[in-house]
């Protein structure tokens, strides 16, 4: 599903430049649930953003679902994002003046799906994350966990190939974090490929594979025995 080879990225800041990713090589199969770990500043978000086509690498190859991702202009990147990728952010990034339902239907709008159909689909995804009754509520009326579940529903609504989550539990307490991970595991069980950036070892243990980043290179890449989140959720 994802192949990257020799990926480099540096940030120029005035005269100096900061080499953040120094040759990343890895592959992700379809249906994997990968945790990306590493200390702060190790380049996790940078990597995820490049995978998400929100940012571009300086060097290296990136193939997503057998499509080589290169020579991206903004329009092309937007279309790829819409078609291939779902994003979940640490700070949820819901649009505050839109209801839960409207937020979930937004990627469908950009896919050009008709309004009626959009609403049916969006409601369906809200139901899957257990928030059907909250469809008309604004984000400000939702708890952190609920917001993140709306965000996950939104990421899933466009039926992406890959779900990219940058510290999806970073702003949540342990119990809510596990609920969110339970949801992510269920989506994964349906066959979706998911990458999760996290600091927390217990969250990482709920994935099937852990990739350790340090100073811009992968220092460890191992399969793990998955901890089932639902056991910790009553």
């Amino acid at each position: 599903m994802i192949q990257i080879k020799n990926l480099h990225k540096s940030y120029k800041m005035g005269a100096s430049s900061l080499h953040v990713l120094k040759g990343i090589n890895f592959e992700v199969e379809e249906g994997e649930l990968v945790a990306i770990m590493g200390s702060s500043g190790s380049g996790k978000s940078t990597l995820l953003n490049i995978l998400g086509m929100l940012d571009v690498a300086d060097e290296g190859d990136y193939i997503l679902d057998n499509v080589p991702i290169k020579d991206l202009n903004e329009t092309k990147a937007a279309k790829y994002r819409n078609k291939f990728l779902g994003f979940v952010f640490q700070s949820f990034n819901l649009i505050n003046y839109k209801s839960a339902l409207e937020n979930v239907s937004l990627p469908l709008y950009y896919q050009g799906i008709a309004r009626k159909e959009r609403q049916v689909l969006a409601l369906d995804y809200l139901q899957r994350v257990g928030l059907k009754d909250w469809a008309t509520h604004l984000p400000s009326e939702l708890s952190g966990g609920q917001k993140q579940r709306v965000a996950i529903a939104r990421a899933m609504a466009s039926r992406p190939k890959v779900l990219l989550a940058d510290e999806p539990t970073g702003a949540l307490d342990t119990k809510t974090s596990y609920e969110v991970m339970d949801l992510i595991q269920k989506i994964n069980q349906e066959g979706k490929t998911i990458l999760v950036v996290t600091h927390e070892p217990d969250i990482a243990q709920m994935c099937k594979r852990i990739v350790q980043l340090k100073d811009g290179v992968i220092i460890e890449d191992k399969k793990v025995e998955q901890v089932i989140a639902s056991k910790y959720v009553q």
């Binding site: 329009t75 839109k98 950009y110």
Partner: protein
Amino acid sequence: MNSLKALFDQDTWQEIFGSISKNRTRTVITVIGVLWGIFIYIALSGAAKGLDNGFERQFENIAMNSMFVWAQRTSIPYDGFKIGRNIELKLSDIEYLKKRVPEIEFVAPRNARGVFGGTSPLVVRKNKSSNYNVYGDFPEYTKIATKKIYDGGRFINEEDIKYRRKVCVIGERTQTELFAEDENPIGQYVRIDNIYFQVIGVHKYVPGGGFESDGDIFIPFETYRQIYNSGESVQWFTIAAYDDADVVAVEKDIKAVLKRIHRVSPDDERAFGGFNLGEIFNKIVGFSKGMTLLSLIVGIATIIAGVIGIGNILLISVKERTKELGVRRALGATPAEVRNQIIIESVFLTLVAGILGIILGAFVLAGINAATLDLTDFPYTNPTVPIPYILGALFIMVFLGTLIGLIPAQRAVSIKPIDALREE
């Protein structure tokens, strides 16, 4: 092409209404700016048009490029004559004038009793009587100053002149003062200075246009000449020049010719008097044109200021919404879609504001119209703004709205989505 599709897409509007109604204060402030602009424009240019119409109505019964010319006393001794000689215009002057000043279209010599000094003749009908000014006129006079004659009547014609008929055209006041209400004055007789005249018409008085009044009586020039013994003399000429002539120059030429005929020094400015309606009219037209132009400039400047205000506020709102726009782009909004949304927002706000302003302006004009309806002596009629002006204003607003929307739209897509998302 793409943006056109977006324009007719219900979802685009859904998004725009969402963002407009969710940012109410911003929307209201924005709308007020442009609304004010278009309102000023409509109110001012409508008012200017009203003034314009008003002046036009004042002059509608008299040829625009006409003038009166009369003789006075000389102020310079000349050709053996002493200073202070009385000059009299003669009927024979007409031929010279027409020959020497080809710009003249019509000349109507006029004599009158009671207008310039002297008493107005006594007019008697049965047991009623009053004094009215009496004019001796040629039919040509109506080619310069139209006289509206009430149904059933007519003005003086060539036959009346030829046979020196004792006929007269009376004013509407004369009719009400001398005749009973249900009486038809046409065909009836009145006595003017003890001579019987048959009434052939009643003229409708139109305000403006000199010293005439609603009581004036017109009789054939030749009849006047006979009964008042005026001989060859003419009190004043009413002269109309052709439409394309320069009335000021024509007046100068006419006076020069008259000076030559009557042997007056070419430098004598006092020997002949003149009142140039054309010149005055041109000044008024210039004034109301100036008013229209001024209102156009002020209005358009205000509209531009309003639209720039919209641009500013959209720019601020785009900055405020950087993160939202980043999220939208992460979810798959293309730069064109983001750009179009902001431009359509800009145009939509501009148009809504503009239409509200036009409606408000129309109400104010209707108010002014109602208030000035009974003012006959104030030149103000039917203050309207021509439809093309309004369409033009709307077009300018759409155009400016698009143009100004481009700035925030460009700014919205100039940020990389990753930077937009990072914004707090």
